[in-house]
Amino acid sequence: MAALDFDAELMLRVREGDGASFGVLLDKHRSSVVHFLFRMVQNRAVAEELAQEVFLRVYRSRATYEPTAKFTTWLFRIATHLALNALRDGRHDRSQERLDDDSGDLPARQVSDGRPNVEHALLNEARLEEIRRAIAALPEKQRAAVLMHKYEEMEYSQIAKVLNCSESAVKSLLFRAYETLRARLAHLA
């Protein structure tokens, strides 16, 4: 049997009633979970609400937790499940208005860094908008696969476990997703 990853060990400590270990897990994975969900639903408030639910479910499951998979696989499986449900429920209605709201969530440097090159900042914002739209236009599973592949740097096998499909299915999802993105974004180079 493979050695337990450190996160799984922490989770086992949480199971034994060690609240501090839950804090360590939260510190370690908070950003990646929130960022993944933010890129999935493209709304900061919804992403944080979903991320809270992810960690709440982790905490609730502490008593029955068994380290059968890598901790991050389990964590992202919960996150992906919630994100896909939220998108399907239509709780999060992607609209122009919300995209405009989200742009306010981005680091201020992009538009108000005080540099004289306002044109450059506007161009940059337009590029980001194009990227956000291209990602949002991907089918949900492809989107999740790309985000895990690109930003979480997960291997095909781990993405397959998160998405509960075969490794070859993941490769196919990624190939199709990047094909779409190349058609839409290659000109940004």
């Binding site: 908070r30 960022h35 991320a51 709440l56 989200d102 990624l174 190939f175």
Partner: protein, 168 residues
Amino acid sequence: MVTPMNCPLETRETAELLLDYCRRRLSPERAAMLENHMQTCTACRGFAERQRAVWEALDGWEAAPVSADFDRRLYRRIEGETSWLERLSGRLRPLLAYRGVPVAAAACLVIAAGLLMERSATPVPTAAVAQKVNVEVQPEQVEKALDAMDLISEFNDKVRPEKPQAKL
């Protein structure tokens, strides 16, 4: 000398090589093989260039920072979920340590339930009965009525002369 390779774009399965190359995940040997192949394969070269452009574009997309009160909100929710039950069981625990207390509590519950059931079993007076109760004659009223009858009788006696004796 670098070994020549089949074009990775011939199948989707091998196209992952190009994705991994742009992700810089290939071993130096495989990367060298692919670069060698791309010198002659314009399709693969174009694929790699466009994929790298996408990769760099995605690099520029920063996610919004996490709210400062994220942990506070989460811990409040966790506390809210666990506290009421744990607090209740925590408060009852010392009481449960005494053997007689649970029995007494159960007995109280049974008595309370019995009282409630008895109360609900008492018939509620109907409107007709209530009306009947309201029209019942009180003793004072009877006395007053009798006094009034006596007065009328006296009045009659004074106003009217005695009836003539019937002739025999």
